[in-house]
């Protein structure tokens, strides 16, 4: 798994590439924990480059989402591949998370509301 962290104005963007499983999810958890510890208000996770995800990946996002909610931060997941979206659907979490089809739409959502 490769993780790139960039800033788009006040939005922190995490671009993920590769497979997100029990082996690679601790690295992502560490990055998301850094952001939520700093109470980063706007986090955008670009999953367009992730072609596989298991329950460890889901757990990592649930944890970060809950932490962000506690300080009124927002975490949006964008550009899910069909495989990754399928995993959210099996977990019935697709309606809990804020999910957008593209990164541009996620950025627009985060810019529109504060």
């Amino acid at each position: 798994m490769k993780i790139q962290l960039t800033n788009q104005g006040d939005i922190h963007v995490l671009d993920l590439f590769g497979e997100l499983d029990y082996h690679s999810s601790p690295e992502l958890r560490e990055k998301l924990t850094e952001l939520t510890m700093k109470q980063t208000p706007k986090i955008l996770v670009n999953l367009g480059g992730v072609d596989y995800m298991d329950s460890s990946g889901i757990a990592t996002f649930v944890e970060a989402f809950q932490k962000a909610k506690r300080y009124q931060g927002r975490l949006i997941l964008a550009a899910l591949t069909a495989t990754v979206r399928g995993v959210f659907e099996i977990a019935k979490l697709d309606s809990i998370f804020e999910i957008t089809p593209t990164v541009a739409e996620a950025a627009k959502c985060l810019s529109a509301k504060t």
């Binding site: 029990y22 298991d54 329950s55 099996i90």
Partner: protein, 134 residues
Amino acid sequence: MEKRFELTASSEVLSPFRKELRQILNRAGWEKKTTEEILLAVDEALTNIIRHAYQGRPGKMMVSVLASDDRIEIVLEDQGKKFDPTQVPSPELPRHRPGGLGIHFIRTIMDQMIYDDQNLTGNRLHLIKHKAKI
């Protein structure tokens, strides 16, 4: 077709094993979506062996893949602590706390999950999926 794998109980083996299993499923004519789902179910079962049966300690995981025209059976064996995933209750969904979804994924994806409680040492789990009839 039958193929047997001996894996080290470590998270590093998961990705290379998925590649091997994906090839077997492709050759056996499974459609892409179902292939990815079966990979997820088997991956979750292997992760449970690493986490619950061996609890991070070194060990071996034996995986037998039996593929025929109309079904696939994957048998996972280990010599770790007894862990019967069929006894784990189904979670209430959606879960608002992290964790507890792996066995739900296996149950949802596979047609059968059978734990062999006659196995004296370690664990043996059968995961079976039938091809949908067109």
